[in-house]
């Protein structure tokens, strides 16, 4: 027998421990869950992924690559997206949601500054895909297909690519150089672009279908719908899209002194604010009240800050002209009655309440429609393209997405549709192989253990002061501070994914949580775990859960 030091009855280094794992009835498991931000993102971005990359590695480049796995246009989305992710953020119930939109913009801007390049997943495939329209849906579809090696060609009807991002969004929200740079980055993947080609007019649709393996239709809703109102053919009456397109193409538009915008959607807000920047007094005429306005709340707030007048409960009856020129509109006051089919209160005119609003220009931002010139597909409600769950239209091999399918939606929603369509097109070309993954369940704030998080103030982006906004079309929100954004990313709860806090490791009474030698992550030693559940209870982000023994 080996001689032991004085006083030791047993060589403690050679003890075989007693395995207490057999006592267990419940076992801890690591379950990655979907955070609400990822769930709510219409573009399907991995928001938790890029925020945690920023917070842990403080590496903008890595974060940009995480973001551009799904979203080819982070700098644009970071500017124009109404960020439904922030509405879902679990931090909302704790202090205030993480400023995801600003973080996305900072990451996108960093990518532009450093000229980061997208990585191709597959170098080359011989199949050809035609994409009609270079708006967010078309671009996203082309981007994802090009990354997977397909030969993609985009046909654009207007002079420059970008669709509504180029011709619909005013440049104080999205400066032109951001769009141009972000697009140039996408062309580097080898996407061909042909401008001034309107499919169905300059080139027949059938020809595209015959010469390509698949076609994606992302034509958007480029036609302004007008309401039935006498006098709308007068000079100085524009539709919303038309007005924005003219201004964004650099045309000189003489709006005069008074501008009346009819409608309460995002296009109406854009038109009103553009007209304000052109030096006019602007009033927005809307049938219902602010609550029913379909526009993004922040847009309405900013328009109010810029002293756009809002006339609620007002309906235009007639555009008054003098010598083919608008001089005003006759309007009537409305009152709201029980809700109609759309769920919004139904406005009914009050007799005898007519009044005249003076106007030099009238902009009808009362809806948009798809321009179907030469493209024959089945339609839904006689308005939007009808597509199945794989986004395929009534024609075999022709897919569609974006506003043309969804109705009027956001850039992010269009990007998400493009991404889905790209997967569907790949499946279609590969012969119906389903490659979609189901996502794990969503985690909500009631499941989190928020004791371990610190309260911290939310990052607030600063807009230009109002007196400096209205003289030019410079961007409303100047460049963001990259350091401050990293601080903001650290506020992310990392819902449903381990962020190495070490609670399970330190709190295990049985020493059964170890640091894995292979991966450096925490792992359970099930030979010794007694299943008390302390680790799951004290896990801040609910990555650890107790399940029945397998």
């Amino acid at each position: 027998m080996e001689k032991l030091p004085l006083g030791l009855a047993l060589d403690l280094r050679k003890v075989v421990p007693y395995e207490t794992g057999s006592w267990r009835t419940l076992m801890p498991v690591n379950i990655m869950q979907t955070p609400p931000c990822n769930q709510d993102c219409p573009a399907g971005n991995d928001i938790r992924g890029f925020l945690r990359t920023l917070a842990e590695k403080k590496d903008y480049e890595a974060a940009w690559h995480v973001l551009t796995r799904t979203n080819p246009l982070p700098a644009i989305c970071g500017r124009v997206c109404p960020h439904p992710c922030e509405d879902g953020c679990n931090r909302r119930d704790f202090d205030s949601p993480v400023a995801i939109n600003s973080a996305e913009r900072a990451v996108g801007d960093y990518g532009l500054e450093e000229n980061l390049e997208h990585k191709k997943l597959i170098a080359h495939r011989k199949e050809k895909v035609a994409v009609i329209g270079s708006g967010p849906a078309g671009l996203s579809c082309a981007f994802h297909l090009a990354k997977r090696g397909f030969q993609v060609k985009i046909f654009e009807a207007y002079g420059e690519p970008g669709g509504m991002m180029r011709y619909g969004i005013p440049s104080y929200r999205l400066p032109n150089y951001v769009l141009r740079q972000e697009l140039e980055n996408i062309w580097k993947l080898g996407i061909e672009l042909e401008c001034n080609i309107k499919v169905g007019v300059n080139i027949p649709m059938d020809q595209l279908i015959q010469t390509h393996d698949a076609v994606f239709v992302g034509i958007g809703a480029q036609t302004g719908l007008t309401i039935d109102i006498p006098g709308q053919d007068a000079g100085n009456v524009f539709s919303g899209v038309e007005f924005l397109r003219d201004v964004n193409s650099g045309k000189y538009v003489d709006v005069g002194k008074d501008v009346v915008v009819i409608g309460g959607g995002n296009t109406a807000m854009d038109c009103a604010r553009v007209a304000k920047r052109l030096g006019a007094n602007v009033s927005v005429v809307y049938r219902r009240t602010r609550v029913e306005m379909p526009a993004i709340t922040a847009e309405i707030d900013e328009a109010m800050e810029e002293r756009v007048m809002f006339r609620y409960h007002t309906n235009p009856v007639k555009i008054i002209q003098d010598d083919d020129k608008v001089v005003g509109i006759l309007s009537v006051q409305m009152e709201l009655k029980e809700p109609d089919a759309s769920g919004r209160a139904r406005p009914v005119p009050i007799p005898g309440s007519e009044s005249v609003i003076p106007a030099d220009t009238v902009i009808l931002a009362t809806g948009q429609a798809v321009d179907y010139d030469g493209i024959e597909v089945h339609k839904r409600d006689n308005k939007w393209i009808s597509a199945n769950e794989n986004l395929m239209t009534s024609i075999d091999g022709v897919f569609a997405g974006g506003d043309a399918v969804l109705g009027l939606e956001t850039v992010s929603a269009a990007i998400g549709q493009g991404t889905r369509a790209a997967s569907a097109i790949e499946d279609y070309i590969d012969g119906g192989v389903e490659s979609r993954l189901s996502s794990p369940p969503v985690i909500y704030s009631k499941d989190l253990n928020t004791y371990y998080y610190n309260k911290k103030r939310r990052f607030q982006k600063e807009a230009l002061p109002i007196h400096m906004r209205l003289k030019h079309f410079k961007e409303l929100y100047p460049a963001l501070d990259f350091e401050a954004i990293i601080d903001e990313a650290e506020r992310c709860f990392s819902c449903g994914l381990c962020f190495n806090c070490g609670n399970c490791f330190m709190y295990c009474p049985d020493n059964a949580v170890r640091i894995s030698e292979k991966t450096g992550l925490y792992e359970f030693d099930l030979d010794f775990c007694k299943g008390c559940g302390l680790c799951a209870k004290e896990c801040p982000c609910r990555y650890i859960q107790m399940t029945l023994e397998k």
Binding site: V15, Y453, N503, K530, C532
Partner: protein
């Protein structure tokens, strides 16, 4: 993240108090003993009094301790530790960390004379008391640490006396360092152990270690219960350095004692159909006195 979640350097090996001990799931004492062993490091001798800790971590041939370990009687862990200290001095060996571990019964009742003697003689020993507020090892009998109102097997209708204030008694021996800690703030606990081991002379650290079995709560609540004990004011966390109370942990948001009592089976009889009885007011009064006394 809270500062608390950042663990100290050198405690991530966790190999001095190994897995395989026979403690119940969610045992506060097992957790506390491991935190103490890891914070103290390899150059340590553990003198463990009879009690749960010795029973679940000590049996031959597979003890959990990977440091020299001496099992003593219920009442004389501090006397044995004093002897170890005297032996090291006589042999002119060392320095070594000598830690005496005891439960609340062996500290405040049975072993009180030996711990008092150790403090008085001024041995260089750290005494760690794991306070689970009853004799859990022998079947949840009342000890002098059992709080007012708690049900034990010897006080089935609730304890009628108040808890002995051991940290103050230890401090009144004039020893250089006394501290209280709980298992939920492991960083604080391990810092106090390391701080105590740098001080020459007798030291006393009082750790609140919930017992899921004896207290009648689910094992996963061990940490939560400690947090509530601190936030209600029932267990003040502080240090006493050279007789002066310092570094008192302030309560961030005060919690009524019901929150602490309700999850525990031993206080179940204080609520008649969910309505608190007058004993709860007495316990609230104890918490208020603590808050006032230590300015929590």
């Amino acid at each position: 993240m809270r500062e608390q979640s950042k663990y100290l350097e050198g405690v991530d090996k966790k190999d001095l108090f190994a897995s395989g001990h026979r403690a119940c799931g969610g045992c506060g004492q097992a957790l506390a003993a491991r935190l103490v062993a890891d914070a103290a490091g390899e150059n340590t001798i553990a003198c463990v009094a009879t009690g749960c800790l010795e029973v679940f971590s000590g049996p031959y041939p597979d003890p959990s301790w990977r440091i020299p370990f001496l099992h003593s009687l219920f009442e004389n862990a501090s006397a044995v530790a004093s002897g170890v200290d005297a032996a090291y001095k006589a042999l002119k060996k060392g320095p070594v960390n000598i830690i005496a571990h005891g439960g609340d019964g062996s500290t405040a009742d049975i072993g009180f004379q030996s711990i008092s003697g150790m403090f008085e003689r001024g041995h260089n020993v750290l005494y760690v008391c794991y306070d689970n507020e009853a004799y859990m090892n022998t079947g949840v009998q009342r000890s002098s640490f059992t709080p007012y109102g708690a049900r034990t097997s010897t006080t089935p209708t609730g304890n009628t006396t108040r808890k002995k204030n051991m940290p103050m008694l230890a401090a009144d021996h004039g020893i250089p360092y006394v501290a209280t800690a709980t298992v939920d703030d492991f960083r604080d606990l391990q810092l106090k152990i390391r701080k105590a081991l740098t001080i020459e002379g007798p030291k006393y650290i009082h750790i609140l270690a919930p017992c899921p079995l004896g207290w009648g709560h689910h094992g996963e609540l061990t940490v939560e219960i400690c947090r509530l004990a601190k936030d209600t004011g029932l267990f003040p966390v502080y240090e006493i350095i050279d007789g002066k109370v310092t570094n008192v942990r302030k309560i961030p948001v005060k919690v009524p004692v019901e929150e602490y009592l309700k999850p525990q089976g031993r206080f179940k009889h204080l609520f008649k159909k969910g309505v608190p009885t007058k004993e709860v007011d007495v316990i609230q009064e104890i918490a208020n006195q603590n808050i006032e006394r230590f300015n929590l």
